[in-house]
Amino acid sequence: MTDSPVAPVQVPGTVLTVRRTGAYHTITLVAPGVAERFRPGQFVALAVGGDESSMLTRRCFFVHEVKPEYGGTVEIVFAVRGAGTRWLAALRPRDILDVVGPLGRPFPLPRHPVRCVLVGEGHSGAALFPLAAVLRQRDCALHFVLGGTDSEHVYGTRAARRIADSTSVVTEDGSLGQRGRPEDLVAAVVEEVGAEVVYACGPTETLRAVTRTAAQYDLPAQVAVEEPMSCGTGVCMACALPVIDDEGVTHMARSCVEGPVFRGERVRWDDLGTIPFDAYGAPRSVLPGSLS
């Protein structure tokens, strides 16, 4: 497992605060042990629904912020999507829920100060802030590109403006910043600032497009994927996607342990939802002539 450098913990998390931020909910949990282990890009896996819940899979969320207070707090920002996130949104201070984290492979960090473009879409923008904080410590230049469907669905523009050297905002309906999608801006920002690396977090389409743009400029893209997960700990194989390894072989890689951060150009974006015929262990073709 090209896994998290330190082992995760499993602890009862106590809700400290629940707030609304635009279209999103922000929950801060006291979850001792997670904060000091956390590295940017990692996520936590939460049990939802309480003791007698009918919901058995974990819900995974990027960590927006950790603090050392109360033995360690963790903050997540999320959109209500289905029953699990609806339950989370209804939590109140002092409620307790099981937290596993930090999980997954974090963003690799540059050794030297470099010029970074950080691309985030919707709630996923939240995952960029711990990264930005660390990059700042390393004297990197930071350029944010934040997008979303509308002004309500762009996360962190204010915080980005505080911390970054530049912040570009884009919405699909033009209600905030420019009209368009984050990937539309990336090329311009990369050129303008002379970027040396691109970090991105968001839906698949965005990551694919950002990866393509970065490749055009010969830049590495480090992308954090949000593939549907079930356990978050690597045991269920639900989150596998085709990724090319160092030897050029495609593996079905579990995004919860081998990701969520991947080098963008290693992910076979066009083959998501398939087992590529040349993947390691792919079924032997029934039509050898036509497929191999």
Partner: protein, 341 residues
């Protein structure tokens, strides 16, 4: 101290709690949460002769108190397993039960043979729920004769000292018949149950939720079916050790299987929900036995079949008894006739 020791064939395990095949990873994943050497045994995902990429996504979906999966046995194949995963487990002194799978009797036998000299293999579990490519894709577990043939071949390929467990499917008309055939064919024990065949449709896309269309249902939802199977098979084959599984989430759930007749239990889907589930279940089971004044786990295996007190209490002429009721029973199957067990 509660005596939690349990025996499966010639192998003695310090406690009865295992991972269920395919739900405990390679051991490394859970090793981050607890010492896998503390488990009764670690059961591996089903190992096949060659590496397998599995099924396309989506592979897993949540259902009420269950999950439906069609991961397609993604795995490294027997060679990589022997060189990479087994040594890691051996180092941690974990007792390893290797689940094996294949597309034909020959493939299973091949995997069993390759395991013969591997150190640290406590037992082999045959995943009989695979489709037999030599029989038009019919699942081995579906027919007593097919299951028996498979068990016989694996038993012949594995060293005598390694117990062979046959893992059964509940998706059959008569699980007792399949169990008997497997026991006759030389299985040293039975694991049950595997997942139930199921399906879910996404009402937004109007398409099946899983790329595999149908999938495999597990979790607490299926526990009543699993307990029934263990109870029925233990009644028919009281001397054959059973590894009970299907929806175990707590120590009391584990105890339920033991009372039904299981000598050991495996925790599957619960581990997806709680990576510490196995050790928690073990701790809770230990506590539950203590609380009930039970000193030896082995003493209560199958207890629900034969509590003299209750047994006699039930034989009451006023009851219009179980026995009498059987004849005219309705939507329910004939109930077990306790007096004959």
């Amino acid at each position: 101290m509660t005596d939690l020791e349990t025996r499966i064939g010639d192998v003695t395990l310090p406690n009865p709690v295992m991972t269920a095949a395919g739900c405990g990873g390679t051991g490394r994943e859970l090793g981050r949460f607890f010492d896998v050497g503390k488990l009764g045994a670690l059961v591996t995902p089903s190992i096949m002769p060659s590496p397998r990429a599995g099924r396309p996504a989506p592979r897993l979906t949540e259902t009420p108190s269950g999950v439906l999966n069609a991961a397609g046995l993604q795995g490294p194949g027997i060679e990589a397993f022997l060189t990479r995963d087994l040594p890691w487990l051996a180092e941690r002194e974990a007792r390893v039960i290797v689940s094996i799978a294949g597309g034909s009797v020959g493939e299973y036998a091949e995997v069993a043979r390759l395991l013969a000299d591997a150190p640290g293999v406590a037992a082999i579990e045959i995943n009989t729920s695979c489709p037999n490519v030599e029989d038009r894709g019919s699942m081995f577990a579906a027919h007593p004769s097919a299951a028996a043939r498979l068990v016989r071949a694996v038993r012949a390929s594995a060293p005598r000292r390694v117990p062979v467990l046959a893992k059964l499917s509940a998706d059959v008309t008569d699980i007792v018949g399949v169990a008997m055939a497997c026991a006759d064919a030389g299985a040293d024990g039975l694991s049950m149950i595997n997942t139930l065949h199921g399906m879910a449709i996404d009402t937004d896309t109007l398409r099946p939720r899983l790329a595999g269309i149908t999938g495999e249902l597990s979790g607490p939802a299926i526990r009543p079916v699993a307990v029934r199977c263990v109870y029925q098979v233990h009644a028919a084959l009281p001397e054959v050790p059973i590894v009970g599984m299907g929806g175990i989430r707590t120590g009391l759930d584990a105890l339920e299987f033991v009372l039904a007749g299981a000598s050991a239990v495996a925790v599957g889907t619960a581990t997806l929900h709680d990576p510490s589930a196995c050790v928690r279940v073990l701790r809770e089971l230990d506590g539950a036995l203590k609380e009930r004044g039970i000193d030896r786990l082995a003493d209560v295996v199958g207890l629900a079949h034969k509590p003299a007190g209750s047994l006699y209490r039930r034989i009451d002429p006023n009851v219009g008894l179980a026995v009498a009721d059987t004849a005219g029973t309705g939507s329910t199957e004939p109930i077990e006739q306790e007096t004959t067990q």
